[in-house]
Amino acid sequence: MGLKVLQGVETLCVARCDPAKTGQHWSVFLAPQAIVPAAAALSAAQYSLEDILALDTTDGLLVVYHFNAWRFDERIALKVLLPREDPAIPSITSVFQGAQWHERETRDFHGIVFEGHPNLIPLLMPAEDVDVHPLLKADKARRAIRDIMDAGEIVSCTGEIAALFAPPADTSADAARTDGGSKA
């Protein structure tokens, strides 16, 4: 059974998580342009926004939205992977006004641009340090998504996202083959 509340929204990957292990019930990967329809669907189903954060990974910047329902225990994590060069994503402030500060904070910490945000100015960081993003990691400390989280029990998934979680066997196999080839 899939995630009913997000029916009609284009998802890249829907996976069931173990709440005892992760504290989340669903992990959903979305394309950037699907975030506003997804937020609208959750808002219509009376979900409330908990927080927005970003993770700096070698695959790009991963923006995570946590939504939670009041009447039943369910936490949904929406995840959007953005390229490091141009980390832009539509703002969900038109649906959840409370996202304004969370988005400004995420811009402060990771430099993500929320398009359509009414007032994307520094919130916690000083106004003069507008280009300083303290939570961006050094190249050496950065990890791939597969090294920091599990895919969960996948319900539906595109190849693109599945490749993020696949063990990096392909490259090592390739390397072994080329090694073998050079020896021969």
Binding site: A20, K21, T22, G23, Q24, S43, Q46, Y47, S48, L49, E50, D51, L53, L55, V64, H66, W70, R71, D73, R75, A77, F96, Q97, G98, Q100, W101, F109, G111, V113, N119, L120, I121, P122, L123, L124, M125, P126, A127, E128, V130, D131, P134, L135, K137, R143, D147, I148, M149, D150
Partner: protein, 391 residues
């Protein structure tokens, strides 16, 4: 990223004032409330546009107490980060302790001994009482009555004496450990708790007669600062703000953690969605906390296990890779910690979700069209702890 910020006249106020003045109407005045205003309980600043005595727009300016707690999480080991949790929110630090160790325990798949769970419940609820008493005294002080804070600090002092015994501190507790708590409650501590419960129960009716039923207070707080259910959802408000709007959402019941399902207690709610509603919810919550403590002290006597699991993880523990979200009900609402591990001694990412942050955000909308004097009554009713907002 370079962007153009408003700034017509470099001498007209600072960055945030100039930003705010862009949308300013005619014949109005822009004033700053804070960051050193006594009723903001710390260094919160609110830029307000007023027309006479009425607020047209309000915009909180944060960051004066920003310490980058989340970055600190990425440069210390998992165990070294626990003292930080005592400093995020000085009002109810044990809730933050709990949210953090709870997230790490989820990552590591640790089951906490029964006795440790009871101790966590008791100390966390005692800490909730100190937080509510601090809020109560300070709120009434904001509204112009000096005496009640003396009464509330009289009671709070006893609670601090109790909590001081196991935690060895009086304000910024770093008491919880992954797998349990730092120290067991001794017999003297249990005696003090048992003596405190009837005493405090006898004080609550006095508070009601003296303050809650006082017509002057009622006139100041009733129908002031409306934050209704829908606003709460849009802004992500939680805790007494949400319960004061009639939604019985309390994580101790709705997202049950630890052993809260063993206790018999109620979730007080008020339908009014105003400052008075939030006030009454907190006053009723104190009674419920007493009930929980009473039952937990009874249960502690025959709880199994020690105050910490045998062979508890060391501060240099390495939780396996993964993500974990753990939320507990703090005095101000949903306290959440999202921890991501790459399987090393140092966390990969720690995200702190603080309840006051969302609760304050709703203030900007709630203050529109109200009197300037009522803004103080509204702000105080949100029970803001600024270090928690700025982190």
């Amino acid at each position: 990223m370079k962007r153009q910020y408003a700034g017509t006249d470099p001498l007209a106020g600072d960055f945030y004032t100039r930003q705010f003045e862009k949308d300013r109407g005619e014949h109005t005045l822009v004033v700053n409330m804070g960051p050193q205003h006594p009723s903001t309980h710390g260094v919160l600043r609110i830029v307000i546009e007023i027309d006479g005595e009425y607020i047209l727009r309000a915009d909180p300016v944060l960051g004066y107490l920003h310490r980058m707690q989340e970055k600190m999480g990425e440069v210390q080991t998992w165990g070294q980060y626990i003292p930080n949790m005592g400093r995020v929110d000085y009002g109810h630090p044990l809730a933050w302790n709990w949210a953090y160790v709870g997230a790490v325990e989820k990552l590591m798949g640790i089951q906490v001994p029964e006795r440790a769970e009871y101790i966590r419940v008791i100390t966390c609820e005692l800490n909730r009482l100190t937080s509510h008493l601090l809020w109560w005294g300070a709120y009434i002080l904001d509204l112009g009555a000096f005496t009640p804070i003396m009464y509330s600090f009289d009671d709070r002092e006893m609670l601090l004496d109790i909590l001081q015994r196991p935690t060895a501190s009086r304000l910024t507790y770093g008491y919880f450990r992954v797998g349990g708590v730092r120290k067991d409650l001794d017999d003297r501590c249990i005696e003090m708790i048992k003596a405190f419960i009837p005493r405090f129960r006898s004080r609550l009716p006095m508070y009601k007669d003296l303050v809650t039923d006082n017509i002057i207070l009622r006139k100041r707080v009733e129908d002031i600062g409306i934050i209704d259910r829908d606003m709460c959802r849009r802004y992500g408000c939680s805790g007494p703000v949400l319960r004061g709007a009639g939604e019985p959402y309390d994580l101790r019941r709705c997202e049950p953690y630890s052993i809260y399902d063993r206790f018999d207690f109620e979730i007080p709610t008020e339908e009014t969605a105003c400052s008075a509603g939030r006030y009454l919810v907190r006053m009723a919550e104190m009674e419920q906390s007493l009930r929980i403590i009473e039952q937990a002290v009874e249960g502690l006597a025959h709880a199994e296990g020690g105050h910490i699991m045998p062979k508890a993880p060391k501060p240099s523990m390495k939780p396996p890779k993964g993500e974990a979200y753990f939320a507990v009900e703090g005095a101000r609402g949903k306290v959440g910690v999202y921890a991501v591990s790459e399987g090393k001694k140092v966390p990969y990412r720690i995200k702190l979700r603080s309840p006051s942050y969302s609760n304050l955000h709703a203030f900007a909308e709630a203050a529109q069209g109200t009197l300037l004097a009522d803004a103080v009554a509204t702000l105080g009713s949100l029970d803001l702890i600024i270090p928690e907002i700025d982190r």
